[in-house]
């Protein structure tokens, strides 16, 4: 049956990718099984834990709840697309520096939810970080190290913005 599935094309981390799968197949499973991008994880499969979080057309979504047909033509960004040319994203660096990652199951989702937050709100308060990450569950860190990682990344970003502003003067 699988040879007769229609083509579904998406931009994944900036690259055009085409799969031939059942339109009901979950985006999470397509990413992991068909495109071999195993960063996004399946935690609960119910949209409760956020470990499958990716960005779809600029919005954070739980990829376990997206039938891949709905991703046709969409721009998908996974955790694999956060680093550029081998250089870690500032959030990835601060998660490493602050102990924001332990077992790693929640980390890709935490990074994507944090990246979504920082992009729209470069200087979030602790309360805003908590709200933005409320849909991402961690069972190792107790969350504080994760919140501190996001705060640290935001502070570093604001420091570098300040430096740039100084240079511009």
């Amino acid at each position: 049956m699988s040879d007769c599935w229609p083509a579904i094309t998406m931009q994944v981390n900036g690259e055009s990718r085409t799969v031939y799968v059942s339109p009901m197949k979950r985006l999470l499973d397509v990413l992991r099984e068909d495109l071999h991008l195993t960063g996004a994880k399946e935690g609960c499969g119910e949209g409760e834990c956020g470990s499958c979080s990716v960005r779809m057309d600029g919005e954070l979504v739980n990829s376990c709840l997206v039938p891949v047909l709905q991703a046709e033509g969409a721009e998908i960004q996974t955790v694999e697309g956060l680093a550029t040319k081998g250089v870690l994203h500032p959030l990835q660096q601060s998660f490493l520096a602050c102990g924001g990652a332990q077992c790693g199951i929640c980390t890709p989702g935490m990074l994507m939810a944090s990246a979504q937050l920082i992009e729209h709100n470069p200087h979030p308060s602790l309360a805003e970080i908590r709200e933005a990450l409320a849909g991402n569950l961690c069972r190792c860190t107790g969350f504080m190290r994760i919140f501190e990682s996001v705060l640290a990344a935001a502070t570093d970003a604001s420091n570098s913005e300040t430096r740039q502003a100084h240079r511009a003067r």
């Binding site: 009901m24 979950r26 499969g45 739980n62 849909g135």
Partner: protein, 292 residues
Amino acid sequence: MRGNSEAHQLVAPGSLSAVLELLAAEPGVWTPIAGGTELMVAYSAGRLNAAKLVNLWGIRELRFIDAADGSISIGAGATFADMRRHAGLCEGWPLMARAASWIGSVANQTRATLGGNLVNGSPAADSSPALLVYDAEIELISVRGSRRIPYCEFHTGYKRNVLAPDELVYALHMPRRFAQHKQYLRKVGTRRAMAISKIALAGTALAQGGTVAEIRLAAASLAPFPARLYKTEQAILGLPVTPETIAAARNALLAEAAPIDDIRSTAGYRKRVAANLVEEFLIEAAQEEAQP
């Protein structure tokens, strides 16, 4: 993950009219799916009964929020993220925007739609109490045309509604006439995010000359579907907010509410907390009028 993707057919006709034609050609056969925050959960658990699904996600005719002088219209395909970000909705119908901000998490709000929330028809639906106290109307559409009915007449029983097999929810409309009203919304659940309500109460009330001239109360999780609390309203209407009025309102609510015991809470807890919320709202409304 227990769902079998090959056991379900999912099609994307692409436009609203094409979806309506499909529903009309085979009424009751096709299950519409929008953001998937309900149906895909069932699918992953291997308990999605719908064999044939028709995609609504991405249909632009359904995803809009239009604020006019006298009203606002929200397309069934608008997401909760769309709603909480809409300045006109936040300003004119703050309870609706607040309810939208409480649903699930960021990643649920970007996908869950207003139409989906209502058609799913959970007794705990987050958007329903606010819609009810704003006198919302719901517009249904099919190839036969469209019809508008008061939203309070949409739900007819537990997970049952008035939708015909060939109909979709098109939009919700709310009048702009509550600016002078004291407005209230409180959701009680196990945690701030991601929690389904144990109980939620919304209210709009107009105090004039020391008495309650208008009041609308609506609750989630007090009945098989979200509903207005007409008898409780009647116990308050036209009276000053006194300890006697509050006691009468509490008694009316305890008599009117018909919650259940379930995994999230008990009937007794839900009734008692609902009565407390009504009392809190009345006291806030009275205080506001006392300090003009």
